[in-house]
């Protein structure tokens, strides 16, 4: 019994701390608005939409109260003890916090100056629009009651079954949508595979005609990130080189295109198509030049050096010293756009088609290269560099090739990005670009083309939909990166083989050195 109380208190403590951070991030307010809107609890006025907050707290309480060990679930007394102790601890935690905040607010301490989310409105909201005492008591009450209820519900047989049922459903749906079932069908039947591609092609071809300018633009951004993700996938996913300075090649592509097609600062104004090709070539060449010295380093050193290189490029392009040649902090304006057979492609729609074309070509090339001698050499290097070299693979050369290929794709992405915006400047080329591309690769699933597309949508598309959550975007992605590394390192839509790689049972593993010690001596 004591053990259960202790466990309950611990759970309550964790939930309490996390909730307080959520309040400090202002996420509770945003979430309660969404919950309130969804349940149609009241009008939209922020301070009065306290119903949403109550629901949120209640859900948190229920969740905490139901987190008792599986072994104890069959005993009503145990689950209740756990639920009550968890609920009371969260209630105390949040209640005291609200009491404190309410008091500070009532004596006119400007908390907002220090904690940006705790303005007067938010405090009133946390107090459910009531007095300090009433507000904190209400939250204490909600947590205690719902914590207890959570404990009660875990015990109830129906809930368990319902829970299992729901879980099963979720997993089968997940399995159907995300798993390899569909993919397998396509693979096993080449005809249906081609039909699938055909349908996809028609959708891709028609979509830009109907979704309007804004969405064409947004989709274009997603597309450019898909392009860059495919490039980085070769470097990180296939060859196993963690490149954090990917933005450098993006910047090189953008600036080559910008400088050679814009009227300022170098008045060359060359044609779009040759310059586009040139920018890709120069980016690849830059990849080789950077790669020659750095690719002999250990993996994590490589990450930091490439990151440093990205920063050098960014500082250089915004410096006053280079301003006469690179446009300085203002960047480059009036970058030229493409036209083909007299059609002007410089519209959101035109660029979207161009980007789609780029993606299709990239996917085809990636597939070719992956199943070739070169792709195998990359994978072998990723698995075991020493042995790869002992297989006759010139590891340095192949690393260089991977680096250059990735750089070429980034250059293409950068060039298209600059042309579409008709502008490029230092603000487009921050470290965040590298991190974003890496994130989408990891979130989507390394080595998997659909995964990369899903990742780009989640990372670049979703924030367009959920505008009110925009300030939390990077916060959430930072957390997500950690979470994915721990829970699901293969990504949302993994390549089938990568899933195999990461979720295998230990006993089948290769013998380790320790296991060999036995028959050596």
């Amino acid at each position: 019994m004591k053990k259960l109380i202790k466990q309950g208190n611990q759970t309550g403590l964790i939930f309490g701390i996390v909730l307080i951070f959520l309040i400090l991030f202002g996420l509770t307010t945003t979430l309660s608005e969404i919950v309130g809107d969804f349940l149609k609890l009241s009008s939209n006025a922020r301070a009065s939409n306290t119903g949403g907050l109550m629901v949120l707290f209640a859900l948190a309480g229920l969740w905490a109260g139901s987190r008792v060990d599986d072994a104890e679930k069959s005993d009503l007394k145990s689950t209740l003890t756990f639920g009550v102790s968890a609920g009371i601890v969260i209630g105390l935690f949040i209640g005291i916090f609200i009491l404190l905040v309410g008091y500070l607010d009532s004596v006119d301490v400007e908390m907002r100056a220090y904690l940006a989310q705790l303005d007067h409105q938010s405090v009133l909201f946390l107090l459910f629009g009531r007095s300090i005492a009433a507000g904190s008591l209400i939250s204490f009450g909600i947590f205690s009651v719902f914590g207890t209820l959570g404990g009660l519900l875990t015990f109830t047989l129906e809930t368990r079954k319902a829970g299992e049922y729901v879980q099963e459903q979720i997993f089968t749906v997940k399995g159907k949508v995300l798993g390899s079932k569909l993919a397998k069908q396509y693979q096993s039947n080449p005809r249906s595979k081609w039909i699938g591609y055909g349908v996809l092609a028609i959708v891709v071809f028609l979509m830009p005609q109907f979704i309007g300018r804004y969405w064409n633009y947004a989709m274009g951004t997603v597309g450019i990130y898909v392009l860059m993700g495919l490039g980085l996938n070769i470097v990180v996913g296939l060859a196993g080189l963690l490149d954090l300075g990917y933005v450098a090649f993006f910047a090189i592509g953008a600036y080559v295109l910008g400088l050679l097609t814009a009227p300022e600062p170098i008045a060359l104004t060359l044609g779009f198509w040759p310059v586009l090709i040139l920018s890709v070539v120069i980016a690849a060449f830059a990849g080789i030049i950077l790669g020659i010295p750095v690719l002999r380093m250990r993996g994590d050193y490589l990450a930091i050096v490439t990151l440093g290189f990205g920063e050098i490029i960014r500082v250089l392009i915004r410096s006053d010293m280079m301003a006469p040649y690179l446009g300085g902090p203002q960047g480059i304006r009036d970058i030229g756009g493409p036209s083909i057979f007299g059609w002007n492609l410089s519209t959101e729609k035109g660029y979207l088609y161009l980007i789609f074309l780029g993606i299709i070509i990239t996917i085809i090339l990636t597939n070719f290269i992956q199943s070739s001698r070169v792709g195998r050499a990359w994978m072998a290097m990723r698995e075991d560099e020493t042995v790869a070299q002992a297989m006759g693979i010139n590891t340095f050369y192949y690393k260089l090739m991977a680096f250059a290929t990735g750089a070429a794709f980034a250059g293409l992405g950068g060039a298209l990005f600059a042309a579409r915006n008709q502008y490029t400047g230092p603000a487009d080329h921050t470290l965040m670009v590298s991190i974003n591309v890496l994130c989408l690769l990891i979130v989507g699933g390394m080595g998997s083309v659909p995964g990369i597309i899903v990742g780009a949508f989640v990372l670049k598309g979703l924030p367009e939909v959920l505008r009110e959550l925009d300030i939390y975007r990077m916060l959430v992605f930072g957390g997500l990166l950690v979470y994915m590394m721990i829970i699901r390192p293969e990504g949302l839509w993994p390549a089938p083989r990568r899933k195999m790689e990461l979720h295998l049972d230990e006993p089948d593993d290769l013998p380790t050195d320790e296991s060999l010690v036995g028959y050596e001596g």
Binding site: F368, E383, A390, L504, P511, E520
Partner: protein, 255 residues
């Protein structure tokens, strides 16, 4: 003429000589063994021959050419393959892919071929796949080509590693304890297999082995290393009766 020869090779780590002034000669088409207690420097000698450690002194000759200063990949491309004491496959690649990586030096298609998927590349790839299948059959792993290497049982991993080394079409293969962790039955099968390699494919074999039954059973000639030094050499019969060898093994209660 010997296909592989080391001349006074020395490799030091700190003040310690792991390999000390070792000269061996392996004639073409033979099966030779290197034996010695743990830490005698056998694997270090392999690492020197294959280019992973630069030798501090001495020279290594392969078919009359010096191997000094060559990187491991170049040495492999000359036709020297090896296996590892603790199997080192590419665990997350399939068995077939492992063999195809082994065939890397045999394939000629380059980066541009790979990107453009040229007919030349397609043809070569088809041939390589066929060869890899044959090797898979040769090591009796038929039908297991699509399994990840790490999912194969221990014995099959050993055989796969062998197949991967063979894919290079080597002139000589350096085996590092090929029967480690095997029961006597399996060891006998492995012995026969090694003999087949020599008899059917004409590959010269150099062997590091602990299992005396295996060593005495198949070696034509044996080198004995102890503390990095060559303490004896001779036919199995000579070695079995060499007092120094007996002392270095039995005197310390080893094996």
């Amino acid at each position: 003429m010997s296909i592989l020869e080391t001349r006074n090779v020395t490799k030091r780590f700190g003040g310690l000589s792991a390999v000390d002034n070792v000269s061996i000669q392996i004639p073409k088409g033979s099966i030779y063994s290197i034996i010695g207690p743990n830490g005698a420097g056998k694997t270090t000698l392999y690492n020197c021959i294959t280019g992973f450690y630069p030798a501090d002194e001495g020279d290594m000759l392969f078919q009359g050419e010096s191997l000094l200063g060559l990187s491991p990949d170049k040495i492999t491309r000359k036709g020297i393959s090896r296996t590892y004491q603790n199997i080192r496959l590419f665990p997350a690649m399939t068995a077939l892919e492992n063999i195809l990586v082994g065939a890397h030096p045999q394939l000629k298609s380059n980066y541009v071929d790979a990107i453009l998927h040229t007919p030349r590349q397609k043809r070569e790839e088809k041939q390589a796949l066929q060869d890899a299948q044959e090797l898979l059959n040769f090591v009796e792993l038929t039908g297991k080509g699509d399994l990840l290497a790490r999912n194969l049982p221990y014995g099959e991993q050993r055989r796969l590693e062998m197949a991967r080394a063979l894919a290079n079409k080597p002139a000589i293969i350096l085996l590092d304890e090929p029967t480690a962790g095997m029961n006597p039955n399996e060891s006998v099968i492995m012995m026969r297999f090694i003999e087949t390699l020599r008899d059917k494919l004409g590959i010269t074999i150099l062997l590091i082995e602990h299992d005396m039954k295996v060593v005495m059973g198949i070696s034509e000639f044996i080198y004995v290393l102890d503390f990095g030094q060559l303490i004896a050499k001779g036919t199995p019969g000579e070695i079995q009766n060499n007092p120094q060898v007996i002392e270095s093994y039995l005197g310390r209660g080893d094996v």
